[in-house]
């Protein structure tokens, strides 16, 4: 027990020792081996022993067809390198062949990746963990009936679908250098999942992710795209990531977050064109973690594998709240990390084409869009009798905590709060409103319909009292806002 200080998060980590042996083919940049390299680093850094380690089950076709079409999954199940010729037509239809080759064990690979994310989501739903990690997941390009960008089965969508059973609103954040088009498309018309993707845009795969793509139908304003240019460095990344995510948290008020940690946004990536260091990349994890929501971390892109494993190792340590040495420990793949054998990497001297002005403009435009969001979306406006929760929510943070302390002893989930207030908050605006979307959680009631209504109620009371709180102050300008120019 002494091993885990009270403030530490409970972290579950999903890994199958087979995953590193799937091989996309000669010259293919996607190398599942990087997940194994990460795993070995975790072991030798002593992080392994600090987490719950799970071997995920293999997701069944039934599970995958929660999102994917039946015939697509049937196809993935049956195609093998030795029978490819019988499937020419279907391969074309499902975009399997070039970027997404048929390789030995393809279906199993998908099963493991999806199985990890689904199990992780269930874990979060059961409140058996605060942070779940599946570096084998994050295959964000996969479409409903189509493979794309080295992704066949969209484990993220499957995971989010699982989370939606317990969470009224789920936030998806994507820091891969590529646009998270598969996830965005899957949830393009719903207001229950907000997808936020930071990516290189312009003459770049997959071509989607324009600033103007904001969702459709009910999902309008629930897709947030941050198109970036070559050379994003740590500083500029944070300068856009922090305000956007804070604003999203404030307006969307999710009750669970999924972060896709594609490591191709790191400097020197074989396919990427950003200039982030491991620290800058990990900073995003840190920032999201601070919101203290049930948190699913998945992998994604990353094609300079030594840096990918560095990055994901560091991010695991961030999730655990453990500092690790810059000196890499000896491991089976130690030689990969030469010549310096350090955890952290330096940025290159490439120029950053994202000027502060450009980022500022992007940010302002996105803020305008976010202002269009109704608060507590997806919740019916209904008269709900006042109950204890409302009173609670009116109170100051301190009172809040005091009242819940006994509960927190019954339920370890509360431990997160302590850490949160300890952490170096920067007053970006995210902190203040944590309260509102966190309120329902310590009640140990996983029923989200209740959660939703409490949130709504809270806002209503706040509004009516004209409280000078973030929520109401954001509400105001919304009314006068001219249609999006």
């Amino acid at each position: 027990m002494a091993m885990q200080p009270h403030s530490k998060k409970r972290v579950c980590y999903y890994y199958d020792s087979d995953i590193g042996n799937y091989y996309y083919g000669q010259g293919h940049p996607m190398k599942p081996h990087r997940i194994r390299m990460t795993h070995n680093l975790l072991l030798n850094y002593g992080l392994y022993r600090k987490m719950e380690i799970y071997r995920p089950h293999k997701a069944t076709a039934d599970e995958m067809t929660k999102f994917h079409s039946d015939d697509y999954i049937r196809f993935l199940r049956s195609i093998r390198p030795d029978n490819m010729s019988e499937y020419n037509k279907q391969m074309q239809r499902f975009n399997v062949g070039e970027d997404c080759p048929v390789f030995d064990g393809l279906y199993e690979f998908c099963q493991l990746s999806a199985g990890g994310s689904v199990a992780a989501a269930v874990k979060l739903n059961k409140q058996a963990s605060e942070i779940c990690i599946n570096w084998g997941g994050g295959l964000h390009h996969a479409k409903k009936s189509e493979a794309s960008g080295f992704c066949y089965v969209n484990d993220i969508v499957l995971g989010i679908l699982e989370l939606l059973k317990y969470h009224q609103r789920v936030l998806y954040i994507d820091i891969d250098v590529h646009h998270g088009d598969g996830v965005e498309e899957a949830f393009y018309t719903t207001d229950r999942v907000m997808t936020v993707s930071f990516h290189k845009y312009g003459e770049y795969f997959p071509g989607t992710g324009d600033l103007r793509d904001i969702g459709a139908g009910k999902g309008k304003y629930y897709a947030v795209n941050i198109p970036l240019r070559d050379g994003m460095d740590d500083e500029s990344y944070e300068s856009i990531f922090v305000p956007i995510i804070s604003k999203v948290m404030e307006t969307f008020q999710p009750s669970a977050v999924v972060l896709q940690c594609g490591a191709d946004s790191l400097t020197g990536d074989r396919l990427g064109c950003f200039n982030l260091t491991v620290r800058g990349h990990g900073r995003c994890v840190e920032l999201v973690k601070r919101f203290g929501l049930p948190f699913l971390l998945v992998g994604g892109g990353g094609y300079t594998i030594r840096n990918v494993s560095r990055c994901w190792t560091y991010e695991t340590s961030v999730a655990l709240g453990v500092e690790i040495a810059n000196e890499l420990p000896y491991n089976d793949y130690f030689e990969y990390f030469g010549p310096d054998f350090k955890l952290h990497i330096s940025p290159s001297n490439m120029s950053n084409q994202n000027t502060p002005e450009y980022l500022e403009k992007i940010k302002n435009r996105l803020f305008e869009n976010l202002r269009m969001l109704p608060h507590a979306p997806g919740v019916q406006v209904q008269a709900i009798p006042e109950d204890a929760v409302n009173d609670e929510s009116e109170d100051e943070d301190k009172v809040d905590k005091d009242e819940r302390l006994p509960q927190s002893e019954k339920d370890k989930r509360i431990t997160g709060d302590g850490e949160l207030s300890d952490s170096e908050d920067e007053g970006e605006g995210g902190r203040r409103d944590n309260r509102s979307y966190r309120t329902p959680q310590p009640r140990k009631r996983p029923r989200l319909d209740k959660d939703g209504s409490t949130i709504k109620d809270e806002i209503k009371t706040e509004d009516s009292k004209d409280d000078v709180k973030n929520i109401s102050s954001v509400e105001e300008p919304k009314k006068e806002l001219p249609p999006n120019p």
């Binding site: 010259g27 646009h179 719903t190």
Partner: protein
């Protein structure tokens, strides 16, 4: 130093021709050739001026569509951008009603609002078109860096204008298919793409998910062991592994020393196994220890690295050499007793060995020809277009002084053709030779970098471009189609259009028939032919010109000038000078001469005087240009004003067939007004900056926009009848001196048209002018 270091991925200027603007390329690869030179594999960006005309219109429409997110704009985007565009398709796209509606909107780049016209003009120089076209150029032709970014709608174009060497692009151009595509993917909407969103569980509803079925716990941090205890256990398990290797025969061969055994026992597989053992024994060190040493002997964990024999390793390397990393083939042909997973695992471990490092070094040497960056020093050689002080004072005026109005033109030529300054450290000749334009140092730099002149409309730069003919070596000449807008000349309208047909329809729909039977377009430059004595002589002497009527009626059909010259010189050889003079004074050079047409006012004056009976309804010329005083003076009415003074023909504009668009404009116009094609005066669309010489020889440079409207004659039945009643001689005379009343003016109604000639009929006959461009 850093500025001259060019890396893969940089956007740079390339100079492939000294007179044309730089080409903008992105370095994809830098390769050292065997001779030691560096070649850059580059991806091409195209400038606006490099694009075929119809595509530019599409590009503008795309911009428009981008700026408004209306459904029609979206539709337009799809129509335009997904269809490959040849000229014909472009014309069809234009006729699409949806597009017709769109074109009423001004077709400007987004974000141009609030830009001064000059800035707007310059913004066009900053637009590039991405292509997938890759070429190889010598790196020494690099002339500096620039940046090219995808235009974001939140940005104003001003941000590009304010930055040197900053370009933007929106569209992707395919030079081989001549298509433009938006470089934008699409998020599809529909049940085939979106997921069904799971509902929240209702109160009391059971979640069917059971974590036990979904995962197997292999380690938990809730174990009660200290870090130290775990570390100790790991050391113990490694010792057990070392001992196990000592006992194992096969291992003792591979690892003859204790160190090697210990190292092998320290590999991650042993550690993972130790952790698993701890977990399985409920985190009890004791029971874990005992399971490390079961009855069968100490546990030995070996990974692929250790498992493989030396001969297998050799086979693998050999196979890797032969097949590369095609593990399926390697397995099949070399190591069939291994599984694919064995091979992959081994491969990634093998990469940590010395053997691999050696191989890599060999490869690194091979890859040395691939450079990451290259240093190109500043280019200091003077451009051939640079005017050295000698030639600028001597040569240029010498040529220009040949004209009657020489002094005026000299002044014009010494101005910078772009910014009009007279002082500059350096001057560069610019544009076609015969125009003698020159640019000051700054404007020259601007021209080289941005492919245009700072100011629009002083000299339409496009004219110069069009006249230039084939461009830089190796470049696709088909791309160099000039482009200029067509502006509605109706008062207070002045909308601009990319196609004449657009303008025609715009006028028809927006301004109705109130305009009278006259399309509002202009010819590029109006002229008519004034025959030199030699030409007249040639007409008489040459068989090829024996059919004046025919040529008059079809002014576009070419006349074989070589033949004419040939026949002429042959015929003239037999005649004495006196005879020749008798036949007609010999011209200086004998080529056909073109003259600028009269100003509109002059024409008006003449017509008013000559044909009061049938006045043509036309808008006052001064609507556009203000009154030409020379024209006004003539109003009083001598019978006919002579054409402007002759100038040396250093400006032979090619005879041009009216383009399809021009005819389309006429037809559109006629249809819109509900009239048959007017049988009389037509003006032609076109636009070209033109030099109009006044009578006194002061040389005005007037932009095409301000040039007077041109006319040409279209014969109706009566006119044809009238013509038939004239003798051939009269007809010719009329054609040659169109301002002179026709002697046979008694004929009721009639006129004559001729190849690049004009004719007026005296008396009751309507006066007609024929001008073609």
């Amino acid at each position: 130093m850093a500025a001259n270091m060019y890396r893969v991925g940089d956007c740079v200027y390339f100079e492939t021709s000294s007179t044309s603007p730089y080409q903008i390329r992105r370095i994809e690869e830098l390769n050292k050739t065997p001779s030691g030179n560096v070649e850059a594999k580059v991806m091409c960006f195209y400038r606006r001026r490099d694009l075929p005309n119809p595509l530019i219109q599409l590009a503008d429409k795309h911009q428009m569509a981008q700026s408004e997110d209306s459904p029609i704009a979206m539709k337009l985007k799809k129509i335009c951008l997904k269809t490959p565009v040849g000229e014909e398709q472009a014309a069809q796209a234009v006729l699409d009603p949806a597009l017709a509606a769109m074109e009423e909107e001004s077709s400007e780049l987004p974000g141009t609002d609030g830009l001064a016209p000059k800035q707007r003009h310059q913004a066009k120089h900053r637009e590039l078109f991405l292509s997938r076209h890759v070429e190889t150029l010598p790196a020494t032709h690099i002339r500096g860096k620039c940046t090219v970014t995808l235009l974001n709608e939140t940005e104003s174009l001003l941000s590009y204008l304010n930055k040197d060497d900053a370009f933007f692009y929106c569209l992707v151009f395919d030079p081989s298919q001549k298509t433009l595509l938006a470089d934008k993917g699409e998020i599809r909407v529909g049940s085939r793409y979106q997921t069904e969103v799971t509902n929240l569980l209702k109160d009391g509803e059971e979640d069917v998910r059971n974590s036990e079925e979904l995962e197997t716990l292999v380690w938990t941090p809730e174990h009660g062991l200290t870090d130290r205890q775990i570390d100790q256990f790991l050391v113990v398990s490694r010792s057990v592994g070392t001992f196990a290797r000592a006992l194992d025969c096969s291992s003792s061969v591979k690892q003859p020393s204790l160190h090697m055994s210990a190292a092998a026992a320290s590999r991650d597989i042993t550690l993972f196994h130790a952790m698993d053992t701890l977990h399985k024994s409920g985190y009890s060190i004791e029971s874990a220890l005992s399971s490390l040493v079961p009855a069968s002997g100490p546990v030995l964990c070996r990974d692929e690295m250790e498992e493989w024999s030396a001969s297998e390793a050799n086979l693998f390397e050999e196979a890797l050499d032969k097949y590369g990393k095609d593990f399926a083939d390697i397995r099949q042909d070399f190591l069939p007793w291994k599984t694919l997973k064995n091979l992959v695992e081994y491969y990634y471990m093998w990469k940590t060995t010395d053997r691999y490092v050696q191989q890599k070094r060999v490869k690194a040497v091979e890859a040395e020809s691939k450079l990451k960056q290259v240093y190109i020093p500043n280019y200091n050689k003077p451009n051939p277009a640079l005017i050295t002080s000698n030639s600028s004072s001597g040569k240029a005026p010498a040529v220009l002084n040949g004209g009657t109005n020489g002094t005026a033109t000299v002044t014009a030529a010494q101005l910078c053709a772009s910014c009009q300054v007279t002082n500059s450290n350096q001057w560069y000749t610019w544009g076609p030779q015969h125009l003698q334009y020159r640019l000051c140092g700054t404007c020259w730099q601007y021209w080289k970098k941005y492919g245009g002149l700072k100011t629009a409309g002083v000299f339409g730069e496009t004219e110069v471009e069009a006249a230039k003919g084939p461009r830089g070596e190796g470049e696709d000449t088909a791309l160099s189609v000039s482009h200029r807008p067509h502006r509605c000349t109706v008062l207070n309208c002045a909308k601009e259009f990319k196609l004449r047909a657009h303008l025609a329809r715009h006028v028809a729909t927006a301004h109705g028939s109130g305009e009278g039977a006259r399309p509002v377009m202009k010819t590029r430059a109006a002229f008519y032919l004034r025959a030199s004595p030699f030409t007249r002589l040639a007409r008489r002497l040459t068989r090829a010109l024996r059919r004046p009527r025919h040529y008059a009626r079809s002014p576009f059909s070419p006349i074989n000038l070589t033949q004419v010259k040939h026949e002429c010189s042959a015929a003239m050889a037999g005649l004495g000078a006196a005879e020749l003079r008798a036949a007609g004074a010999a011209g200086a050079d004998g080529s056909l001469m073109y003259e600028r047409v009269l100003s509109r006012a002059e024409i008006e004056a003449r017509r008013a005087e000559a044909a009061p009976a049938q006045p043509l309804k036309r808008r006052a010329y001064d609507d556009i240009n203000g009154l030409d005083t020379t024209g006004g003076a003539r109003e009083g009415g001598e019978c006919a004003a002579p054409p402007p003074a002759k100038r040396p023909n250093k400006h032979p504009a090619p005879m041009q067939r009216p383009s399809r668009e021009q005819y389309a404009a006429m037809c559109a116009r006629a249809q819109a007004t509900g009239q048959p094609l007017p049988a009389h005066v037509f003006t032609h669309v076109n636009g070209k900056p033109t030099n109009i010489s006044g009578r006194g020889g002061r040389r005005h440079v007037i932009s095409w926009m301000d040039a007077p409207d041109d006319l040409y004659f279209r014969a109706n039945e009566t006119a044809k009848m009238a013509r038939r009643s004239l003798s051939c001689g009269e007809l010719r005379r009329g054609a040659r001196a169109p301002w002179r009343a026709l002697r046979g003016g008694a004929v009721a109604g009639g006129g004559a048209g001729g190849a690049a000639g004009g004719k007026a009929l005296g008396g009751a006959a309507p006066l007609q002018l024929v001008i073609l461009d």
